[in-house]
């Protein structure tokens, strides 16, 4: 077995930044950037769901055509850290279930590989379904499979009997499965108690390379980065902002992202009389999101549930304090540095709770915070070198040279 820097590693993922969805999978790209320099060769297969309404006949035609085109249209592109990236569309009829989705991913991967197995002696899949299962069915003999699970909709996957059975197959045959937070770990260990010993924690890596030029001096410019959907509590966030704005008209809120609440949020901002204080940017690229973090004063997240809360770490890496809910991920991500980093608020459907959290934070700003300390502590946990070393240790039982 090759060791570390002599090894070929293959990453299979359904999420990776693209022109269509520039945000999706930036954490996979970060993982690739962190670990690629530590191995001989790292290849990424981005198996991208291309969803469309199709009749069964169209579905059959499209799938056959996709397989036929996969060889001619396959392009290997340079990725971060010297990795190679192959973008691979997986045509998916709208409404396809999780299990069938995984089967389609496996078939498309097989088609693009021309029937040969994945080259890596270590294959690392992001999420158990579809990519873990697709990788499992394209492994070469002797190859070891690792999986990182960070799907926020994992409970829905495990609620489906067929999908749960396929997930069980992945867990039974993988070497290890990494959960990005305790919530994911507990759910998987509870669902598959026989394989609980294979499940362990592994955080997503975050770059701490670029900090902030000038320190935060006030908490006036709020920033939200994420999907504009109910599960993220962004509608309640707007209500809380309006309450705080009524006390301080200098406050501003920037909502970065897209989703079904885009229109309703604009309408509600107008109804609340805060339209001039609220900006919705739509989706932006990860570098643009980082630039916005350096230009704002406070990251605000009123999410109902998070597996990890990567954006919280990214904000602190950019020198931005945070005000976030105890929704599963952030309280663990910020364990031990909650007060240095900003503030945590209970998940509550009353926006007054979040507004009260802001007032408490403002009352102890800036002396009550220690952003440099929080940043340093997070870099030691989630920085590229730390997470790359943890992957290397798991894959090869040694630290990278």
């Amino acid at each position: 077995m090759a060791q570390g820097s002599d090894a070929d590693v293959t990453v299979v993922t359904p999420w990776y930044p693209s022109a269509q969805l520039p945000f999706r999978g930036s954490f996979v790209q970060a993982m690739v950037e962190a670990v690629a320099p530590t191995v001989r060769r790292l290849s990424v297969y981005h198996c991208d769901d291309w969803v469309s309404r199709m009749t069964p006949r169209q579905d059959a035609e499209v799938t056959a055509a996709a397989h036929a085109l996969s060889g001619a249209a396959r392009q290997v592109r340079p990725g971060p850290g010297g990795a190679e990236v192959v973008h691979l569309p997986v045509p998916i009829p709208a409404g396809t279930g999780y299990a069938d989705n995984a089967r389609r991913h496996a078939a498309m991967l097989r088609a693009v590989l021309g029937g040969t197995p994945l080259a890596g002696e270590v294959v690392h899949a992001h999420v158990g379904l579809p990519s873990g299962w697709a990788a499992l069915h394209n492994l070469r003999p002797g190859a070891r499979l690792f999986v990182t699970e960070h799907a926020s909709f994992l409970p829905l996957i495990l609620a489906d009997a067929d999908a749960r059975a396929r997930y069980g197959e992945v867990l039974a045959r993988c070497t290890a499965l990494f959960a990005v937070g305790d919530g994911v770990l507990d759910l998987l260990a509870g669902t598959f108690p026989r394989h609980a010993d294979r499940i362990r924690l592994m955080p997503n890596p975050v770059s701490f390379a670029a900090g902030r030029q000038t320190p935060v001096r006030s908490l006036e410019r709020w920033l939200y980065v994420g999907s504009l959907k109910v599960e993220k509590g962004v509608d309640l966030l707007l209500e809380a902002f309006a309450q705080c704005w009524a006390e301080d008209a200098a406050l501003r809120l920037t909502l970065v992202g897209e989703g079904p609440l885009d229109g309703p949020l604009r309408a509600r901002a107008a109804a609340l009389g805060v339209a001039d204080a609220v900006v919705l940017t739509g989706a932006v690229t990860p570098p643009e999101a980082l630039r916005l973090m350096r230009e704002h004063d406070l990251l605000v997240h009123n999410s109902r549930s998070e597996t990890f809360g990567m954006v919280v770490v990214e904000a602190l890496a950019a020198g931005l304090p945070v005000l976030v809910t105890r929704c599963g991920g952030p309280e663990r991500t910020l364990a031990g540095i909650e007060y240095a980093a900003g503030g945590l608020v209970e998940v509550d459907d009353d926006p007054a709770t979040f507004a009260a959290g802001y007032r408490r934070l403002r009352a102890r700003f800036p002396e009550g915070l220690d952003l440099a300390y929080a940043r340093e502590a997070l870099a030691a946990r989630y920085g590229y070198p730390a997470v790359a070393a943890a992957h290397h240790e798991a894959w090869f039982g040694s630290t990278p040279v």
Binding site: A19, R77, G79
Partner: protein
């Protein structure tokens, strides 16, 4: 570089808008083949990108025009001729019932799928040959894949070498 985007399904419009803009910004030519112009009405495509509405071109092919004549124009003319005087109102009702119950469903279920299935391919090949040669064809959504596969199989008329195919233009370092 001359790039053709096959975007007949219109399900990945943002990618096509971004990537075609990048082609023209770099001094290249970008042609986008659409299945229908309607889903693109609100998209902010670079004005230098050329759009070709394949649905519109296919609707003007001889078989589709014949089908439309048989299904709509001839029955309408007959209804007008018959619907004079006291028969004007009942014939009007009958025509509307025919249009709703026969002409539109037959067009939707038979003529439209048949035009995509049988006549869009030749129109596509003709347009690609007329507007080419292209260095790269980007297959931009699932419903464009069967047409791309046929292009790959049959080649492009008048083109000595087949253009390269890709599913995405790429972002440089990814």
């Amino acid at each position: 570089m001359r790039v053709l985007f096959l975007a007949l399904g219109a399900t990945r419009r943002r990618a096509v808008v971004e990537e075609s803009a990048r082609v023209v910004a770099a001094g290249g030519d970008a042609v986008v083949l659409l299945g229908s112009a309607q889903p693109w009405a609100r998209e902010d495509l670079d004005p230098r990108v050329r759009l070709v509405d394949l649905g519109e071109l296919t609707a003007h092919t001889r078989p589709v025009r014949w089908a439309q004549a048989l299904l709509v124009r001839l029955p309408r003319r007959a209804a007008r001729l018959a619907g004079r005087g006291r028969l004007r109102e009942p014939m009007g009702r009958a025509w509307r019932a025919y249009e709703r119950g026969v002409a539109q469903p037959v067009h939707r279920r038979l003529v439209a799928p048949a035009s995509v299935r049988w006549w869009r391919g030749p129109v596509l090949r003709r347009e690609v040959a007329a507007r080419g040669p292209f260095d790269l064809i980007v297959v931009a959504d699932p419903l464009s894949m069967p047409d791309a596969a046929r292009l790959l199989r049959h080649g492009v008329a008048g083109s000595r070498r087949s253009p390269r195919l890709a599913f995405v233009l790429g972002l440089g370092c990814e």
